[in-house]
Symmetry: D2
Subunit: 300 residues, 4 copies
């Protein structure tokens, strides 16, 4: 039954597997650990081999999830602290040599609020590729960063993956960072959790239209994925509630929910806030010695 | 238990009462009827006295609900047909003498998509009050119509009702039409149902922040309410599913859902579309002899 | 000839009078002075009596103009420095007792970029009236501030002045602050000059549609105006260039320019930036002991 | 002197050459003709050889300019009539075989109103490439059309031309249509003139940042350009007025105007309107047997 519960979070997939098996430990081929870093908790799920892939339904690699509850509670200094934490994790996962170029891709549809995380985050990315080329004396200390929003098939007629492949071939970055909205199982994770992974990403999976993957196989370079769950499928919610309460779920009782999502009431603001966190953290991860104030100044 | 299921739709409140009583008929003090008009079904619930008020938890008056499924299925000519139907119902409920002035009020918060129905509808309302005053030779055939968006307490510091009272006192219309987002019990009604009522409205009830009413008692003139459900409380959904499946709902299982809503995946587009329908229908109801094309031309 | 050159800036009107009279000194009934405050220059024009009113074509009162060139050049710390300077000037002009309530009004049309200064500034105003009422224990130190955007006649059918009168009567503030776009004579002043005045304001004068005034006569309380020139009439530019170059202006040569304006190429960004400065400065002027960071936190 | 007057309109360049030479006729290597088509006037300038290229400062090819005054005066049926006229001219210039694929490119910056013509027009283009691939039974009658907005160097770090080359290589269309804002000499042409040309386009020339060309040489396929003048350089206006009035222009008198533009007061609305005209006309030109109503339905 749980197999129909949709989640893009490795941390939820691991918990679901344990629930379904009434197990205390991770499945074979998976290692999971949790740590507290300042005000935030960080969970790392490593899928090590095909046993782990089969159990969690995700490709092997490292998935790091940061829970942003302190940010949501608006604790003092939570924004810069979250930026530093996320940028540290991103920097470690990217492992880029100095001066290696990076292409940032915002996936998803800017016109649909829960799907706008990628384009909104790209608005906060410091684009420097042209400056390092034209003004090397002023911008030589910056990494060359370019950024595009791939749009969605319905607005371009072109698969996101084909577009990114084409742009990547033209720009020849050392790595791609792809940002997208995700779907989660639990409402508690919506807009307050960021997952980063070195596995690449399947554009649009968060909104139910899975497409060709963006990963090292399809692009030939590392693809770091940054994702934020913004919706729970209403169907998933129904199944999940039924399974938690022990009732037999009545599939007919929610037959019309196919087009429905569960989302925070303040989704517009929440998406904007977490997109800003991602953009700023990426800037700190990609360029040395920057502060949040420097980013403010550059983007203004 | 049903008393905690939230709905602003009289048609759902009536059905809930019957479910809770295992009754076939409406409660005493309530008359309900349903009719098919072309491609659309129209339900009328009349609350006649305090017995009806107590049973349905709403003030006495006439509530007319139009279900727009043909529009959603994008049947040919569904938009002009829905405009005509809705404008006929509005015209009957308004019962305004020729030349009597009307003030249209968009309630809700334009920055929160599911709450933007009122402001978006006002963008489609033909504002004519100043034209009938300054250019009577050209616009003498139009009714004087003014329009305001009241904003929300958090952005103005002023209660919507106080603001509307103040504007109404300045403009002295014969009637107020207030447009707002609602909450419903059933996902199937979201963005595809319009309720109009001669009872006035409590601003913000759809988004869970009920305020002082706008009605004949508070404004001294008739207040026609136009509402569209755009969200289901996640808590309501949980209770409703539990009650339908016969399981005891576990209040703890969804404790964090307080800030969560169920909404259509395409809420941005759906809100825009139904707001346009409301604006256009209101124009046809308020001015004689207009066509949808005339409204297009006026607003462009 | 100069009388057809349009400007809403008292500092330009004073300079025009001197040019037209080939005079070194201000006209009788006018005192003008200029001072440097840190990186910014501040000009004060006082119109003392009807001779001054006739010479400059503006009502008597104090007009203070701050030139923001350092901000435009993006000098370090220019934003907080400009905020402090502007808030000091506003605080002196407002001269409000502690706890006296204030109503902030954004004039102009949000949908027309050069006319959006008022609404955009209101988005950066801390609205506190409802908080001081409902949560006095948390917000007792704040002044009660409410805020509205009056819209424009074409979108509401109601004169801005009538709307503000109505709201003011309902809210009963001790003073009104009205923010609007202005027209200037010189392109160099566009979006880099803020004029504040204790004379009230005529809504829409900046965009060529003058309306009934908002001032102590019409509202019964002090009205502080904050204005920013965002456009030069193309006709004004033509006349001005002709007069500066000594050529006889050919009225026919620019007959079609009636609907044309001169504006900065980056008007969208410039309007947003100066609107933010106004909102933040107003917050610092209205509430004691706030910092720019406090405002960031409140508004986020 | 006229050589410093900037215009992207071939029709203005031809007139400027005649003025500068006090000539009645077009320069050698140029043919110009004007015709009335219903309510609109259509001017064709053909640059035939290098003499014409040198005289007008533009590459050889056919430039067709449609003046939309009837549309601006909002004459009845002006919109569908202008669509038909523009789509006829586009269809002749494109000369595409049935089923040949087309890539539409919106150049320019959506965040700067006078530069948003391209992105806004793309919003009105029917994107069909994915539908003809996935649903050939339903969409077999449509031409495969894809569409992208290239962004600008400052937001992507990538030259528009490089981006379009990359996408074009991936999608392999038979032709590219590129839409951009232009600069004109005369305020009378702003937002009321559409120029189409078979010469390709230099992105950003309208906003003063000329880039590498998009044309048959750089893309290997025909590039049809659609441009609309939205600004006059303030410096151009100054020079032009001086030259018309016979005065010696004083370069110092307008030294600060470098960042200034002349634009219609209602630029936001005008850009939206003419972008819609371009998108709709392109749809009628690219697909057989469509009406304006069909496009409305497809895009809604």
């Amino acid at each position: 039954m749980n197999s129909t519960i949709r989640t893009d979070l490795a941390l939820e997939a691991e918990a679901l597997w344990r629930e379904s098996q009434s197990a205390q430990r991770s499945p074979a081929g998976v290692q999971a650990s949790r740590a507290q870093r300042g005000s935030f908790s960080v969970t790392t799920v490593e899928i090590l081999d095909e046993r782990g892939e089969a159990a969690l339904g995700k490709p092997r690699g490292t998935y790091i999830t940061i829970e942003l509850d302190a940010l949501i509670r608006r604790e003092e200094n939570a924004f810069p602290e979250a930026c530093r934490l996320l940028s540290d994790e991103l920097r470690a996962l990217l492992a880029l040599p100095p001066e290696a170029a990076c292409l940032v891709v915002g996936l998803g549809n800017r016109a649909i609020t829960p799907d706008a995380i990628g384009p909104d985050a790209v608005d906060c990315v410091m684009v420097t590729r042209h400056l390092t080329q034209c003004l090397p004396e002023d911008f030589g200390a910056f990494r060359p960063v370019s950024a595009v929003c791939s749009g969605v098939l319905g607005t371009t007629g072109i698969e996101s993956s084909a577009l990114v492949r084409a742009v990547s071939a033209a720009v020849r970055p050392a790595a791609v960072v792809a940002i997208d909205a995700l779907a989660s199982r639990s409402p508690e994770h919506l807009c307050r959790t960021v997952q980063i992974a070195d596995t690449g990403i399947v554009p649009g999976s968060g909104v139910g239209n899975a497409r060709e993957a963006l990963n090292r196989d399809t692009l030939g370079i590392p693809v770091i994925a940054i994702g934020v769950p913004t919706v729970v499928d209403a169907a998933t919610l129904t199944l999940d509630l039924a399974s938690r309460s022990g009732a037999a779920p009545d599939p007919a009782s929610f037959g019309d929910a196919g087009g429905m999502i569960v989302t925070p009431r303040e989704i517009d603001k929440n998406v904007r806030d977490v997109a800003k966190l991602i953009g700023y953290s990426l800037n700190l991860a990609l360029h040395d010695g920057l502060t949040v104030e420097d980013v403010d100044m550059f983007l203004s």
